[in-house]
Homo-oligomer: 458 residues x 2
């Protein structure tokens, strides 16, 4: 048998030309978003002041299975995609496992993560509708960087509201967004009414994601040519991220294989939802039955310790209500080094599939995931993002289980990004100053007690 290459690349001709909408194959659909003012499902008209129309339609479309990817988006994808499907030969050898371990590497682009896949799409659709200005918020800065790149390419102005403590702690993230011509504003700011109010009420505050979202939405809705964009959680983002899974599916077909186990890290759920999309489709259609595993931080365990309930997507409580696994919009996860997974909720699509038993979830402590990250870096030569390291740890444990059982399973995990902007975390791990924080049951109960009241929900 021919040896499987270390890296499997599709040709440009083989790249997917359509996104796949997982909702179309779900018999039981995710619960609709609700307008918090009326308690009724949100309509296209509710969403249009915030999102451009094409994206609002994608958000609400539970039925169309495949969506053509417009050519300008595909042209941009060709600048950094297809991403390689990689075989982790050195890791397999080290673990002495009969399992075959593959990872889809999304970090080989300047944004450093999979976020660019949806950023490009959102910017393109906005531009098509004559939108000239976009706003967003960013915490750790990966989403802001990806969006800045996409906006620079399509010639759209961008304002990024960056949580003030991140703005001050991560000057390099600010610098890279500015290199791509974006305006980066520490939040709360004097730029918006909500920002001025927060500064008046809480002088000296270092900000929060909820506050940054509120400012970005205010700026977006203050002009007809302006819209707000978001990098995770939303159905439209999961749709765009399906490019990850679709490329994996084609690459596995080229090597005549199919994953027995698919593992993704889970924060807002867009990477996970995109990676698993075609494999979950096969499962929903009864064609194959892959084991699908979501891995989350023990410090922010929305699926493993949260509640499936309607909740706000933001701590500012201005977004529509989404039915999802949540720790409560008021829950503030401990400061961990996997900032991209510090979200209180989970994509409504992923949440519904989890609630219906189509995927498993588990959580790990951050010292354990950094142990896995360093092992992976030394063996496979890629320094992973802390977020991605959750999936690595999940894959290592599955491969060790195969060693016990003697099963030669094919394991696929998503390596969502690189850790070049996370060296403080790596230094803390190697210096043995990194700590773990596990929320108590009482803490979790306290935030869940404050879930919004929605008719028909406990």
């Amino acid at each position: 048998m021919t040896k499987i290459p270390n890296r499997i690349y599709l040709t440009e001709d083989e790249m997917p030309t359509r996104y796949y909408n997982l909702r179309a194959d779900m018999t039981d659909k995710p619960a609709p978003l609700l307008n918090p003012a009326t308690g009724q499902p949100v309509s296209l008209d509710d969403l249009k002041p915030i999102f451009c129309e094409a994206l609002a339609r994608q958000e609400l479309d539970d039925d169309t299975p495949y969506v053509d990817i417009p050519e300008p988006i595909r042209d941009f994808y060709k600048k950094y995609r297809p991403s390689p499907l990689c075989r982790a030969y050195s890791l397999e050898k080290y673990l002495d496992t009969p399992a075959k371990i593959y990872y889809k590497f999304e970090g080989n682009n300047t944004s450093g993560s999979h976020k660019l896949n949806s950023a490009v799409a959102q910017v393109y659709y906005a531009k098509e509708e004559g939108i000239s200005h976009l706003t967003t918020e960013t915490g750790a800065g990966q989403w802001g960087t990806a969006l800045a790149e996409a906006c620079a390419h399509f010639g759209i102005d961008l304002s990024v509201y960056m949580v003030k403590c991140s703005y001050e702690q991560k000057p390099f993230r600010k610098a890279i967004m500015e290199t791509f011509n974006s305006r980066v504003i520490p939040s709360p700011s004097e730029t918006t009414a909500v920002g001025r109010q927060i500064l008046a009420d809480h002088p000296g505050t270092t900000g929060s994601l909820g506050c940054a979202i509120a400012e970005a939405v205010e700026e977006a809705t203050s002009s007809n040519n302006s819209r707000y964009v978001l990098g995770s959680v939303l159905n439209q983002v999961v749709l765009h991220q399906s490019i990850i899974g679709l490329e994996c599916e084609k690459a596995f077909a080229k090597i005549d294989d199919y994953p027995d186990t698919v593992i993704g890290c889970a924060g807002g759920g867009s990477n996970l939802g995109g990676l698993i999309a075609p494999f979950m489709r096969d499962k929903l259609q009864g064609k194959y039955n892959p084991d699908i595993l979501a891995v989350e931080p023990a410090s922010c365990p929305s699926m493993t310790r949260g509640k499936y309930a309607y909740d706000f997507c933001d701590t500012g409580e201005i977004t529509p209500l989404a039915k999802m696994y949540t720790l409560g919009a008021g829950y503030i996860p401990a400061a961990s080094h996997a900032g991209g997974l510090r979200f209180h909720g989970m994509s409504p699509i992923v949440s519904k599939l989890y609630d219906d038993g189509f995927l498993r979830a588990k959580s790990y402590k951050q010292t354990d995931i950094f142990e896995a990250a360093v092992l992976f870096a030394r063996l496979e030569t890629i320094l992973p993002a802390p977020e991605s390291a959750h999936a690595i740890k999940g894959a290592i444990d599955e491969a060790l289980a195969c060693k016990e059982s003697g099963e030669a399973k094919t394991i696929l995990f998503g390596l969502t990004g690189t850790g070049y902007f996370d060296m403080t975390a790596y230094a803390a791990y190697t210096n043995q100053t990194m700590t773990d924080y596990l929320p108590t049951d009482a803490e979790l109960a306290e935030a869940l007690d404050r879930l919004p009241v929605v008719p028909g929900q406990d």
Copy 2:
């Protein structure tokens, strides 16, 4: 005609299995290295205490054209190579040029640059000879990072002497080397006799590359199982870096094209020497006549304003003498943001070819190269290293010349690395606080006046 893909990847089967030694096709060979104590050409025995034997042999071998790449090195290469040959469609469109612009992208690995290509080879050969410990010095940190990755993979101990000011200014570079299990020592240190002497003579010094080299060599030569390794300038490094050019040659063959112009940035010359290797071979053999251009910083213009003479490779004056274009080993280039190009000399191979008229050289100011870097980033979505931006600027100017002349030339340049660790520089550029420094003629003359006296040389 089929559209050329944005990125051309070789398959693993198509990857080069031999390095190409440019010296073999040079009728006039580079001048030999001289032992500074005797003024005589260095022998294998002179080099063996410093380098492992296989590498010492490669250093002295002017005749063997092709060198088999051992399988363990090829296996490691497959973890991050082949690197893509990319078509800069967006840049071409922006410049409105008839030229076709290609770049070979070496930044898609965790070390962030082409340095890994030689690091892997040097570590492998050392391990084969039973060496268990290596030492090196690093300034900006790219070479140290690459070597740390390679040592982690092959299980070799590594001590990196990092110039103290870099050690203090770049804690992330230190952290990444430590993640890969290396020992990082700020130089001058108490670890070596030369370090202790320098600290006694110059309390509070922030160190220099010359001092770091001296410490690394002292540690390497103090044990039989230890050797010193170096990331540029040496003939062996140019040999290993030929993998870059050989991959380009095969990729161009796949699209039935051949570069009219080949452009590389030039610091110590290893990237340039590797990129141009097969194209220079064709030129030396009279098969093709590509125009070959080296681009260097105006603040450190060894080729464009230096002298072709025997000189030390280090400011500490402990290395063999090499005949090369040099600004004088005592010349301290201004602090620029392209740390990888701040070397007073140039590879003896590249120097000889330049002196014999086989390649051109030009220099640019750093504000001009950052203008090119930012333009490239916005159009092509890759944030380049400042070093690489010299080649970008060279390619842009060649493409604009084609616009004038109407020629549809095929231009190839080397994109040696990414700029994620250079955000201070990008911030300085976007904030318009970046300055340029051009050495005066008097300054350059002063350092050249202090060249070592070698019989038969002016």
